[in-house]
Every structure is written in structure tokens, then in C-alpha cells.
Symmetry: C2
Subunit: 429 residues, 2 copies
């Protein structure tokens, strides 16, 4: 058991336990927590077929097994020529070349091009031996079936892709940690890479807690709420490349929570706890996680609003994030902390995220100093400028999540921002 | 057969057929083609489970079946009170309230709150009758088990979400045409909407053509190329919400192409033809499409570079896009035309795309007047500014696709742009 384990003082019944020294010590800034996340390693690798590789992350650098193209290719429709035969050609004094035949698509040309000859070729066709350039059909005029006039000179290699010019054999095409886009898959297809080594998608267990939480399919009684966090978190995990493993709902009982956590950690690469609202439930979580074999509490509380009651632990090599129960806070914490954690677990070194948008603030915002504030905003255009309008309403209102297009971050040093200020909006993907 | 059908003049063997009047007439601008795309309707609808609904597009507006919350909920830990009992409370002169009990999570409180009383409550707990506000625990101090001091007044409804305040029963929550994000799914879960009506994902047939094209798993001979467009297009279709249906490779033979197109159109909602490089192959496509039952050629050629030899047709209600054979051109045309077409077929009225980024051009670009130019750029930061560096190399180089982060569009009226000019970059998703 780690020597950094936190032991909780007994809680006075019905009262919030007094903040203890360790709670203050373990409240961390976002930067500190992000630093902790760097300590988590990517899960293992697996081989997948190219057609299933979209958005998968390369676990090894990709090295080209061959030259692309493997033969000199025309990039235009026209005539394959020896460039020197066209030097000096003009509209008034064209080069006159003998048409020695045609390159058929997909075949090796049988012709050897001699001086003064031209061969018809289509885009993608293989240059015959002897030829070193292609004249575009637009700059030619057929005199008869056997002769063509060329009106413009071409340089050697003009309108031609040379052997290995696109990709050379043995060259690194893409680095480890790269997530594959459709165009990357196209290149790999061109090289005949039918399967690839990628990182496994991390299994992310999701445990919802709270006496008041019921499954989505049930009709909640008064005082109860459906497990909406479980659904939203599963969708978020999937979007970020993980495989969600929904472990159901656990009531606010220490033993039940302990059992659920132990099982979840055994079966997955990462555990997300979606916290119940009850006073003291967070203390259970802290106590339970601290008591597991190989556990270490990395952060207990975050200097971020919304999302202060966030918990980060490590159980062996596996990260555990205790998310706040408020759906809005849970989403903000997912956005700013769980996404980078999943990047680490997925081995994603080049996350492809929309960059922040510059917008002007549509109304004043007040913020407390000493903590980062994340404010939900909706975006609209007005007078040719992008405006960010803070979405009003407490973080208890789920609707505000749906109305928001992204988040702005207010620096802990600021007391607020004024209408018209320029802000950076992190758009929701 | 449509009266707008185009009949091709016989092609002289081995020569590019002369551009005919209809070819010039059918060359359209991007705006004109986008206008044509609006004529295509969304495919039908289907019911899906909420957990499978991410990125699916609502086919009907979503109306809330119930009030959320269905009971007045605390949004803070503290004490449920009658607001008027706290009016005038200060640090020096706190309100003294009798603690009448505790609200248990997930249960209906049995207490009726009388004047002068307070009840312990956690975030998410149901307010007892008689209470109309919650005092945060931070502004209270327990005197003994039965009495609490309140240091700050609360207004009625403070720290409370009223019945239906989040979502009222019968209210439209999300419009038809909306694509569902994780947070939207959370809200729907909260309302118990376990299944939804969404648009079917359109089946998009992909036919690769060209005598020189071989399947990805085969080793191409000299002069041949693997079907990389087929792979890239399938991945792009999937990313944009369609279901790709790869129909294989068809050689440059009119009868084979006709058979493949007929079958593809029967089996799918949309057909993408990935053109072979051979001179004349595009004429086959035009002829074949024009001859199909209920066909109408909407555009034959696009005033866009790269991507001029793009073909747009309608066969009955189904769109057909003939994409250029060059992978780079095919990707550009997918980006600027097929994406909006898939938006129409998916019924997506609120496409969620990263907005264009403002960047400065890292080098001069020359462009021909009279057509739109799309230039691949890579992005980097320098001196606190975002710079867009044009990716050099012919559109025959597949590698340039992988190096690019997005596209800039050069207006047909411009002859080029200078280094340092501000440009808008459309990032690849």
C-alpha cells in the first residue's frame, strides 16, 4: 500500500466532515493534474485491417515497404516525349514529332521512345523507356494519325512523377502516435499496407454512484434521477477512442462501492466514477479508492469551477477519475482532464482537435480569483464578428449543456471579463 | 429518359474527343453545384436505441415527455429553508433555525418545513414541502445537533431547480436535423428517452474504375496502381455518417461500367464513381450515366482546381458523383461537394464542422483567374501567429494529402496571393 494513502477521519453523522489538512494539500490545479496524467502509459497494441483503422492510433512508426510510384507515371493526359525534343518549340515554330503509339493503362509500354518520337499517354500511365516528360494534350495538335505538333517546351520530369518521388521505400511515412485519417488510409492502401499495428482501444469502466440514481429505462420516483451521466460519459469515452464498459449504478454504501471499484479495475484499463450527489459520498470514494491494493490518491479536489470535487487516483498502473455528480461539472472535467488522459492511454501523440476560436464576449462575467472558471458559451455571428454568449443557468441545469457550443476559461488571476473582451472558445467537438 | 440527356459524339480512337458545346455548358461553379445538391432529400428514418444514437441525425423534433426535474431539487449541499426566515441574516446577527431532520437521497422527504425550521439536504435532494430555497453549508454553523446558524440570506428559489425549470413537459428540446452529441444524449437519458427516430444512414456505393487499378491486397504490376481511392472514399463516407458499400473495381469498358452503375444504384442511396485515369474514361461515365433510366446530367465539369473533371448526375432520386481519378482531386471534391451532399442525404441541418481558421500565408501562390483554386496547406505557429504553408507537389503526389492540415480557397477573381496575406483555412476534420 502506498505511503501516500490518505486515511479519512471518521465523519460526524449528518454533517459534512470538516475539511482536513490533506484535502487542502491534495487540491490541485489543472496543470498539476495534467502533469500527473503524463505518467499513464498507452495500453498495448493489436493488429487491425486497414479498412477498420480510421481514427486508430499507430503504435509503431509506419515505414514504406516500397517505392510509390514503382514506375514513372504521367500526371497529365498528352504525349510522352524526350524533353529535349521540345526545347524551343513555340506556337509559330512547333516541334514536329512522330506518334509511335499509345501507352495502355495498366500495362508496361512495349515501345522504346527514340529521338523525335512521341507516345500518347493518359494520366496515370507508365512512361515508356526513353521518355522523360509529358506534354499536355492542350499544347499539341495532331497533324495526321502519325504526326503531332508540340507548341510548348517541357522540362525533363515535367508532368511526370518519378519512381519513389511520392514515397521512397524504407521512408518513415507516419510516426507512432498518429491517428489515421481517411487520406492517410488512402496512402497506406496505395502502398499495399493491408493491416497495421495500432494501440488497443482502452477499456473504460463507468460506475455511476448515488442512492437517488436509477437506470435510464426506469421511471424514477420523486426524489430520484435517471443515470444520465452514465450515458453521456459512455458516449464521450467512445468519441475519444475508448471502449466504454458500463458497470451500472452503485448505491452510496461503502462495501458496494468497494466491490464495484475492484471489479471495474480488474476488467478495464481505466475507471470513471460518476459521483452521487449525497454529502459524504465523495468521502466514501476517497476511502474506498485509498484502501485498494496499490492505490495512490493523486488529487483530491481541483481548483476549477465547475468541477471542484474531482478525484484522481492511480490503482496500480490504472487511472481512476472520480467525476462530480453534476452533469455539467462532469462534462467540463471530461473535456479538460479525461480527454488528455484518454490521449495518454490511447497513445495519441497528435490529437486532432479543433483549435480554440477567438470570439468577443457578449456579456460581462464575474469570476472568483484563485481558481480557473470554465464558462459554457454559445456562439453566434453578428456584424461580421464571432460572439460568445455565456449560457446562463446553474450547473444543475442539464439543458445548458445542450445549448452550449464550447467553453471559455477564465484565468485564476482574473475577477471576471467584460462584454466585448476577446476570449478563446474551446469548441465542443 | 430525360430530355436533358447528353449524347456523346463518337470518339476518335486514341484522341481526346474535342470538347463539345454541352461540355462547356455543363461546367458549373461550386455554388451552382451546391444549389443542385439541395434538391436531394434525406433518406428515410429508423428507430435507434439511445446508446447507439451518437452522431445520428434526428428525423423529428424531440419533444420532452415530462418535466425535468419532476421535483424541486437542491443544487448545493446545505439546508433547505423558507427563504424569508433568512432575510436580514448577517455574520454578526445570524438567523437561528431549528434542524428538523435530513432529506435522504432518492426519497420523498416526510417532513413539512414550518417557519423557523431547516432541513439538511445534499445536492440533488428533493426539497421538502414548505421549503423554497437552500442555504449553502458554507454559510451555516451548527450550534448543536438541533440548531443551525445561517449567516447569509437566500432569495426564494436560490440554489434550487424548480419543477420543469430545466425542461418543461411538451417543450421542443432539439430540432429535426440535429446530430446528437454526448451531452445531448445525457439530456435525453435524463428524460427517459430510451429510443429515438433518426434518419437512416445513407448507403453510399463506391465504384472504382480504371484498367490500371488493382485491389489493395494485390501486388500491382508495373503500370498498375492499388485502389487507394476506394479505401479513402469509404473512410470519408463513414466519417460523414454514410455506410460505404464498396462495389469493387470496374475496367474501362462501357458495358461493365453500365452493369456496375445499374447494380450500385439499385442497392444504394448514392453512387460515387472514382474515375480511372484513362483518356476517354470520363466520356464512358457520362455516356453510361446518361443512358440509365431516369438519368439527368446536372454538371459535367466544375470550375474548380483540382477537380475539374467532376460529374454530377441524378438517376431517379439518387445522386451520382463522378470523382476525378487523382486522389488529391478526389479528396478536395469530397471535401467541398460530397460532404454537403451527404448532409442533405443524412438530413443534417446543423452540420458540426470546425469553422475556418484565419492564418497568414507562408509563401506566394499563383492561381489562374476564372476558377476556384483549392490549395492544400499545412499549419504551424510562429511568432504567436498561425501560418498556412502551401504543400508543394503535383496533385499526383498522394503524400501531399497526408502532409496537409486543410485547404484554402482562392477566389476565381484573384491571380494569386502573397506571402503574409491573411487567408481562411478549412481544416480537415
Amino acid at each position: 500500500m502506498s505511503d501516500r494513502r490518505v486515511v479519512c477521519a471518521p465523519r460526524r453523522k449528518g454533517w459534512r466532515s470538516c475539511p482536513m489538512a490533506h484535502e487542502f494539500l491534495r487540491v490541485k490545479s489543472r496543470e498539476q493534474v495534467l502533469k500527473e496524467m503524463e505518467g499513464f502509459s498507452p495500453v498495448g497494441e493489436e493488429e487491425v485491417g486497414l479498412l477498420e483503422a480510421r481514427d486508430r492510433v499507430l503504435s509503431r512508426p509506419l515505414v514504406s515497404p516500397e517505392d510509390l510510384p514503382p514506375f514513372p507515371r504521367a500526371t497529365m493526359d498528352g504525349f510522352a516525349v524526350r524533353a529535349q525534343d521540345t526545347f524551343g518549340a513555340t506556337q509559330g515554330l512547333p516541334s514536329l514529332l512522330r506518334v509511335a503509339g499509345e501507352v495502355r493503362m495498366g500495362e508496361i509500354p512495349e515501345i522504346f521512345l527514340r529521338p523525335g518520337e512521341a507516345v500518347r499517354i493518359s494520366t496515370g500511365g507508365m512512361l515508356p523507356e526513353g521518355a522523360n516528360a509529358v506534354v499536355m494534350v492542350e499544347y499539341t495538335q495532331g497533324l495526321d494519325e502519325g504526326t503531332v505538333e508540340v507548341y510548348r517546351p517541357v522540362a525533363p520530369n515535367e508532368n511526370v512523377v518519378r519512381v519513389g518521388e511520392d514515397v521512397a521505400s524504407g521512408e518513415e511515412i507516419l510516426p507512432a502516435g498518429w491517428s489515421l485519417r481517411p487520406q492517410d488510409m488512402g496512402l497506406l492502401a496505395g502502398l499495399g499496407l493491408g493491416s497495421l499495428w495500432v494501440h488497443r482501444r482502452p477499456l473504460v469502466a463507468i460506475v455511476s454512484t448515488g442512492d437517488e440514481v436509477v437506470p435510464v429505462c426506469e421511471t424514477p420516483g420523486l426524489g430520484q434521477i435517471r443515470d444520465l451521466n452514465g450515458v453521456a460519459l459512455a458516449a464521450l469515452v467512445e468519441r475519444e477512442g475508448g471502449i466504454p464498459l458500463r458497470m451500472g449504478i452503485v448505491p452510496d454504501q461503502k462495501e458496494r462501492l468497494e466491490e464495484a471499484c475492484r471489479e471495474a479495475i480488474e476488467r478495464s484499463d481505466c475507471l470513471l466514477l460518476s459521483g452521487g450527489g449525497a454529502v459524504g459520498a465523495r468521502d466514501y470514494a476517497l476511502e474506498v479508492l485509498g484502501s485498494l491494493q496499490g492505490a495512490e490518491i493523486l488529487a483530491h479536489g481541483l481548483a476549477v469551477r465547475p468541477g471542484k470535487p474531482t478525484l484522481l487516483a492511480r490503482v496500480g498502473s490504472r487511472p481512476v477519475v472520480g467525476l462530480p455528480g453534476h452533469p455539467v461539472s462532469a462534462l467540463v472535467i471530461f473535456h479538460i482532464l479525461v480527454r488528455p488522459l484518454l490521449d495518454a492511454l490511447c497513445g495519441r501523440r497528435y490529437p486532432r482537435r479543433p483549435p480554440p476560436l477567438r470570439a468577443r464576449l457578449a456579456r460581462n462575467i464575474v469570476s472568483a480569483q484563485g481558481r480557473e472558471d470554465y464558462v459554457r458559451v454559445s456562439l453566434h455571428e453578428e456584424g461580421g464578428e464571432l460572439w460568445a454568449r455565456p449560457v446562463l443557468g446553474s450547473s444543475g441545469l442539464i439543458r445548458t449543456l445542450v445549448q452550449a457550443d464550447g467553453l471559455i476559461r477564465i484565468d485564476p488571476r482574473f475577477e471576471g471579463l467584460y462584454r466585448g473582451d476577446w476570449v478563446e472558445v474551446e469548441p465542443f467537438p
